[in-house]
Each structure stands twice: as C-alpha cells, then as structure tokens.
Amino acid sequence: MTRSGIMRAAGLLLAGTLVVAACGGDDSSSDTTTAATDDGAAETTVGTEAPASTESAATTEATTAPTEATDAPTTTAGADGIIVVPTDAGTIQEAVDRAVPGDLILIEPGTYNEAVNVTTDELTIRGLDRAGVVLDGEFELDNGVRVLGANGVTVENLTTQNYTNNGVFWTGVTGYRGSYITAYRNGDYGIYAFDSVQGQLDNSYAAGSPDAGFYIGQCFPCDALIDEVHAEHNGLGYSGTDSGGNLAIVNSTFNNNRAGVVPNSGSYELCYPQRQTTIIGNLVYSNNQPDTPAIDVAILAMGNGILAPGGVANTIERNRVWDHDKTGIGLVPFLEEGPNDDLPTQDEWDIPCEDQRNQPIADEIPDVLLWEPYDNSVVDNVVSDSREADLGVAGVSVPAEDLRNCWSANTFGTSAPVGIETLAPCDGTGSGNWDDGALNVLAWLDEVATRPPSVDYEIAELPPIPSDLPNMPDAATAPAQPATDVPYSIDLASIEVPAEPAG
C-alpha cells in the first residue's frame, strides 16, 4: 500500500462510526507463528514466514503484482489499489468485479445483503470492522463469499451470516486465506475450503452450521493450516473429507458441537482416503450438543471429541479433550453406502490428488465400502470424562489389532479395548487381549434413531456471537495481503497441551 493509500484508509477510519473502536485488537496471530523446524512430519508444517507486523508493513509498498493473466488492468480502484465499499463501489460484488489482482477491497461497516462471487486472483477482501461488516444472506442467498478458481484470495475481518450454504467458500484454488472471520448460522458450512491447496484459516469463529464450522476437503497434499479458530454449536466442529498432507489443525477450540474434529474418508469426494492430518494443541470438549443443526453423520458421530472415521496416518497429539458421551479420541471404520468407486489399495495412498482424480473409477463398484482407520498415532493427549472410552479404536472388516494404530504417553482414564497403550504402543511391541473391553461401534448405529434430530439452522438456539472476538490488527491501514504466501510456518513442536479454559 502506498502512503497515500494509508492516508486514505486512515480517513475512512476516522469517518466510520464503528471503526475506531474496533481497530487495535490483539495481534495474536503474529504471536503464534514462528519459524519452522525440521524435526519431521509430525513436528513441522511447511509454510512461509508470516509477514512482519502489519503496523510496519503498512508503511511499505504492496508486494503483490498483478498476475500475467491480467491484460491491461482496467481497475477503477484508486492508484493505491484500494476500492472502498460503498464509497467507491456500491456493493462488494461491484468492487470485486472492478478489481485486478493485488487490489484491496475495504468494506465499511454496514450490512450487505449480497452473495459475492470472486473469480479474480489475488484480491484481499477486508472488512474494516469484524463485527460491524456483516454479509447477511437473509436465508435466501447461497454463499457470503464464494471464490471459484481464483488463486490467492484473502477474506478477512468480517461476519457472514444467514446464508443457505456457506459463509465463505473457496473451491479449486491455489492459495487462500480466511482470517478474523465470523461465520454464524449458515446452512451448510461455516468456512469451507474445497479442492484447494496452500491455504490458511485463522482467528475465526463458526457457529450454527449443520455440517462443519470449518472444512478443508479433497486435497492431498493440502499444504494448509487451521490455527486459532473456534467452532461451537455446529454439526461438526471440523470436517475434512479426503484431505491431508501437510495439513495441521492447531491451537483451536471445538466445543458443544454434535462432534468435535472429524476427518474422514469417502468416495463421494475425490482424493480418497483421508490421510496425514496433524491435530495438535486443541481444546476439544462437550461435543454432545443435542440442539444444533446437524447432518446425518453429525448425529451419528455425536458425542465424540476427535474422531477419525476411516482416517489414515493422522497425528493426534497434545490435545486436551474432555466430556464426551462416546470417545474422547476415537479411531473407527466408516461405512459408505452407494459409493462411487472401490477402495484404493494401500500402495495408492500416497498418490497426489491431482493424479488420483484423473484415474478411472473401478469397473465394479461395491454396494458399500468400509474405510478402516489405519496407521494413526495418538500421543501425549490429555483425555478425560468420556462415557465410553477416553481412547478407542474399532475395526470391522479388519481386526483392530491389524490396523497399525498406536497410542503412547496419553493421560487418560479409560480405553476401549482396555490397556490400549500396552496393546499398541507407538514406540515398541504391543501385547494383550484386544477383545477385552473392545469398542462397540455397532451400537452407535442403533442409537441414531433415538438421538435428538437436527434443528433447522434458521431457528436453532445458538450462543450469541462472542463479544470479544478480535479484529485483525490495523485493518484500515495494513496493506493488501493476498494469499500468495500461506500457510505461514508454525513450530508444531513448541505447542503444548493447552490449559483448560477458566471457569
């Protein structure tokens, strides 16, 4: 951003009634990103250095140039590359349509009844006040912001609510970032990144969606990070179907959803199986919430903290998990009816998504698929107060002892089967009886019919949006920061088991 741009934005800051009070929020995002380490897959997320503090960055030129795809830019943005809504453009969509790669769209406080489509690369779409800039679908519009095939688009510091589908939705992109977003009472997902790589979702909040509050799916390797987010009162706090590969979910809170963190496999999306997701340092509690909107699987998975149905080679470490009707951390099979392909063989698990998606489907497709949970590692978690088991595993088509999962150094009270860390330690040879206290996941199916049904997302009782959600720092003056350098690097090894929240 040029200095004139800063001054112009500063003028907006003074003019806005809500802006001044909103800016100057905490800058915890910069505090949580540190240099990467090289201690192995479970310890390091490959990423880039986070940008310097936005305060200093605001005095520098924007670093992003228009892409080659842009012929003779025709933006009507100011020379500073900023389009202010509604001052310069009457609607957000109008601003987006005018913009060229690298532009910054600044949205003044107000309610915008729009469904914004973005097809231009490297835009930064930013509200000047997270709570005061509200995109409202009024239960009629589909997506608050939908980014279709446009690479490097950042959406930040705003609220999306009451959309029939998603609050913010990226699909088919390389480079995406959603920061300081509030997604509230949306009819499918809160914040949804599909078939997209090199992304980051951080400092965001999602509540009241029947599917997942946060979702990253159909990507391998994803090269993505979820950091410092909070999901509550959704069907699922996090869902990630057929995603993984340098995908980390860290430092976040998932509470009072039907189920907490649920990565899974399935042939209803491409790039199966789900694999290699790292889940570290999260607070996961009380995911038994009976009165949320919920898709069927959320009802079925209800009562589990971290659940990996058919998940492969996930790393689940240093999370604090408590108060669940089923398992705190469960590794279970996933039965898929009416699949679209046959199961991949194990030697196909490492095929990148871009290659696998082009492979032909099987000549013969079974009526059902059983995705078993293989090769997961559950280490150093603190798990308590689970009514069935703090740590659990089950296999159906393959005995649990043959699934190569392991558990070590967890603090827990119960497991199914009994003595799970003796049966399958991560650092040695196991022994014992796998049938002793085995997890009875079949019973879950029988219970589905008796569980509380989904509540319409339009009327579900939700907690109010927390009043202390932080604004992004320096929203009015920070330069455009398109998602060309995400995910930011993070030192996974330094993350500790989080303390219980006060109260």
Binding site: T119, L148, S239, L335, G338
Partner: protein, 181 residues
C-alpha cells in the same frame, strides 16, 4: 462431511442417511419429476441453441437464379441433424463437488445418466440459458438420478450453480458427435 455412515455391515439396512437413496433407490417422485423432461426431449427438437453446435455451412447461391446475390435470400437454414435414440447410456457422477468425468464424448442419440453420488445437493444446469434440459436441486438430491438423450451434435456445457460459475468450479460438458455411420 455429508451423511456418511460409520460402520457395519450388519446394520447397513437399518441406517439411513441423506445418501441412503442410492442410484437404485431413486424415488418414484424423483423419477416422475424427471420424466417430463426426458419424454419431452425424446420426442422433440434439439435444444434451441446448443452452445457450440457446429454450424452447417450456408448453401451456396444457385447459379442462374434470378435473385441477385446481394439481396437477402430467403433460403431454408439447415437445422442441425437430430438422431434417434440409440439405446446407449453414459454415466456421469456428481460428487462433492465435481462431475466425474468432467467431459464425456458420445454419439448423438446417446443417453447421459447423471447420478448424485455426493452428500451435498447439486444441480445440472446448461451454461446456455436457452437450453431446456437439466435438473434443479429438488430433483437432484443425494442419490437422485437424471437422464437426458442428446440427439443433436454439439458441445453442451453445464454446471452446478451452487458450486460453480459457468466456467469455474463444478462444471462439465457433453461433447456430442454424429454417429459414425
């Protein structure tokens, strides 16, 4: 994640989900909804303006006609040739959120069968607004099917309005060629 089911062969029948109506479980109501579209197509002219139907060269002026070549000639325009149904069916699966395969090439007269194999709702909408085939959300919920016989050569592009624009995201195309013989 949409409506998968965790586990167990013994309980397959007992468990329902939004995807429980598999390809063979399409309801009568859903078929009824699609039927008018299918029957209408089978018995009528091709889509009004297929987006990229190869244009038929205009016939040359008739030598010796009295009509000046500089005046408009009110000659009949060749309509793209339509072909009778050939009984063949090609399948496209609507996953979340991809059509697989994205492009199919068929001979005119072939039926395309779309199956919503995803857990999300989708639709199949022609890019060309003038075309009248396709199926909306209500008729294409998870497990639903939709068929259409393409009887006229051309390229028919389509998309899911929820998960795509006309040229990005969940898009597809049916490339229809004239039968070989």
């Amino acid at each position: 994640m949409r409506a998968p089911i965790l586990v167990a062969a013994a309980a397959v029948v007992a468990v329902s989900s939004c995807g429980a109506d598999g390809p063979d479980g399409t309801t009568a109501a859903q078929l009824d909804a699609a039927a008018p579209l299918v029957s209408a197509v089978l018995g009528q002219a091709p889509p009004t303006t297929p987006p990229t139907v190869p244009s038929t060269p205009a016939p040359p002026s008739t030598v010796g006609d009295d009509v000046s070549s500089e005046e408009p000639v009110d000659e009949p325009v060749d309509e793209p040739q339509a072909f009778a149904p050939n009984g063949e069916t090609v399948e496209v699966r609507a996953l979340d959120n991809t059509f697989r395969p994205e492009t199919v090439q068929i001979e005119a007269g072939t039926e395309v069968l779309w199956i919503n194999g995803g857990r999300n709702e989708h639709n199949v909408i022609p890019v060309n607004d003038d075309e009248t085939w396709g199926v909306d959300l209500d008729g294409f919920q998870p497990g639903d099917e939709y068929t259409f016989v393409f009887d006229t050569p051309g390229t028919y592009r389509y998309y899911c309005t929820i998960h795509a624009t006309k040229d990005a995201g969940m898009i597809g195309a049916v490339d229809v060629v004239a039968p070989a013989s």
